[in-house]
Symmetry: C2
Subunit: 417 residues, 2 copies
């Protein structure tokens, strides 16, 4: 595989929502209730909704800063690289990194809209709809063929979630973001099929993938109170395993054969161990012997899951044991784990080092993701224009140099936004 | 490798403490305070200490029962295979399974004596000493060369733990059992070096391994309240990763270069992923850059850890990435995951399937464990008598058939114990 011939589709990136995102999408009667950004008394810009702050505006959006500055989140939009929130700049950064298409998770709403779901009413449903409309029209819609839309849902009432799944399916979404562990958000767990059954059925009926991004469920780990921040950062993918455990050993995957689950940023290295342990548990603990329809747990896992990784150099040796059809690479732009702007080099080096064939590489870098998400990468852009080489050729003028938060703030002031 | 030429040393098995274990080891002034077994009003035998029941007597001691009966713990000693608690029968079962030597974790005291440490006083120190004396004299001492002694410690006061480490070191112990996550037992976490530093120093000074068996720290996972028992059983090794995270990224391993940690029943499959993720975190998150003395976290990990597994068929392909010198097989007798009586066949099949050399096999089945624990396997038994073939030749009369709890109870009554 020549690097210029690679095709990269990243199904885990992030958008920091632009300041004006709600302007044209919220019904006029609720205009005053829409989330908005305020500057708090510590000089940090925060989204606020129904009088409650929802967290910093630019969580971990550190791309292109010098690594020494990564310790704090951006205090304001001014400090961020504009491509974090501006779709036109984002396309430039994607081109520079050879990324054909990107699926962008939300930031201020939380990965499962948990940060705005404290007000459980029709207004919040309206805001969630406004978010999804903005996402598909103004973000993904600005550059057809470059973004895979992903929707947020009202999850405090299954019927509302089902209605929004049906609504966004009609708008072309094949992807929703949901919590890894809903019980950590105070919702019933995925074992509660009376609650989640209608949601799983609606997702199945509309070929919709539930994407479980690491982070939401982190509170499931009762870490030592004096543990350093490294613990959170190194251990976050452990929670993907807890999430799959609930879905595989509870009723979800077994009762909904078409349910599809993406483990966003979950990594792949723990999967062979988890599958072997699940199979051994099934065959050895005969007094339990859950009904997997005559299959092994690992087979059911492979029918339902796509496993997403940024870097996993040793475990890629086991790609065929994991399942070469269920692994998808992801970029994680603009977070600190992102490979921008050298993703093509990094990814190809890692795959070459384990002896991956061209077929393996294509599956991992785009084919698996596109198949799983029902997304045709060449519907708007012909294949020969979709490669790393072709995209980078359009980005020769993109400045990829490192720049401090202070420099970004100065440039922002210059532009007089 | 011919199966009869294998040597098997298992550093994770379990003893269910015999009824009379305290009789000759507790000072006479405290005789009445010693833990004893009572029959509760549900017909279950429980150890009781200072008026508090400590759990069932035979946790998960299901060996040789039909698998359909594994769902409940034994209600009484009568229902258990005698080799669970009787050292003479145990030797027969070890011979039948080709096991040269075994390190047996405690049962009723909890893996870190947590079940008897509610009474934090000199009496409990006396009981812990009595336990250790019984373990080294009556259990391990009954058959020199067949058991690797492992001690329990009073952990509620570091000075007491240090004193007991020094005492048992003089008795020939090179192993202690400690909690995976002390903060789950209400103790300071392993990050608190003011508390644990003297303990780590004493362990280092006496070439003593701290063994962290899965189970103690399970409460660190806030699982869904309606999750099935499968979750606990499949996910238990996740906690080994949390434990290592604290020891590797906190000060313990970095400040105590001789500290040795066994991850008992932790499995090996998660380790390549954890090491890669740790190294990537170290190299990528330069704003943190903890001081690993110029080494990578994975290198420090390999200097301190031995990783113990019962079965891990896919991940054994990565044995050289993990480190061929830090993997040790274990049997887990008499629990439901145990491979008795077919350990030699099972282990060899699994290692042959991944193309392990004779050298790899010897390292994994005995050499690594013996080196790590400073234990000479041939001090009492010459090598030619230590093999699977030689041991099994002594056990041709051992009944290895499946037998129900009811049949065991009838035999127990016949023997009139």
């Amino acid at each position: 595989m020549h690097i210029d011939d690679m095709i990269l589709v990243s199904i885990d990136d992030h958008v920091v929502e632009p300041l004006d995102m709600f302007e044209k999408h919220v019904p006029s009667k609720w205009k005053d209730l829409a989330p908005k950004v305020i500057l708090d008394d510590k000089g940090v810009e925060r989204w606020i909704y129904r009088d409650r702050p929802t967290g910093v505006a630019g969580l971990n959006a550190v791309v292109s800063w010098p690594p020494e500055e990564w310790g704090r989140d951006p205090a304001s939009y001014a400090e961020m690289r504009p491509a974090v929130y501006d779709v036109h700049d984002r396309i430039d950064d994607m081109n520079a990194n050879g990324i054909l298409a990107s699926m962008c998770f939300p930031t201020f709403t939380g990965f499962s809209a948990g940060h705005i779901s404290h007000a459980k009413d029709e207004v919040t449903v309206g805001m969630i709809q406004a978010y999804n409309n903005w996402h598909v029209e103004d973000w993904a819609g600005a550059y057809p063929g470059r973004f895979i839309p992903i929707a947020i849902l009202p999850l405090w009432e299954p019927a509302l979630a089902v209605a929004e799944i049906e609504r966004v399916a009609a708008l072309g979404f094949h992807s929703v973001t949901m919590p890894e562990l809903p019980h950590i958000d105070g919702l019933p767990s995925y074992h509660d099929i009376e609650y989640w059954g209608p949601v799983f059925a609606a997702l199945s009926d509309h070929d919709m993938v539930m994407n479980l991004h690491i982070g939401q469920g982190f509170g499931a780990l009762r870490l030592a109170p004096d543990s350093p921040i490294d613990n959170l950062m190194v251990l976050a993918p452990s929670v993907s395993q807890l999430a799959v455990q609930d879905l595989l050993w509870g009723p979800a995957m077994r009762a909904y054969p078409k349910l599809k689950v993406a483990l966003s940023e979950g990594g792949i290295g723990w999967i062979p161990f988890f599958m072997d342990r699940s199979d051994r548990h099934y065959t050895n603990q005969r007094w339990l012997r859950r009904d997997f329809g005559g299959k092994l747990p690992s087979e059911v896992f492979r029918e339902h899951v796509i496993a997403c990784y940024v870097t996993d150099k040793t475990s890629l040796k086991l790609r065929h044991d994991i399942g070469i059809d269920i692994i998808a690479w992801e970029c994680d732009y603009p977070h600190s784990d992102s490979l921008w702007p050298d993703a093509p080099e990094f990814v190809l080096n890692e795959l070459d080092a384990v002896g991956a064939s061209d077929s393996d590489i294509d599956k991992i870098t785009w084919q698996n993701a596109c198949r799983f998400l029902h997304w045709d990468p060449f519907a708007h852009i012909p294949r020969e224009q979709a490669t790393v080489g072709a995209l980078r050729a359009k980005a020769t003028d993109v400045d990829i140099s490192t720049r401090s938060r202070k420099e970004y703030a100065a440039l922002y002031a210059q532009r007089g936004i």
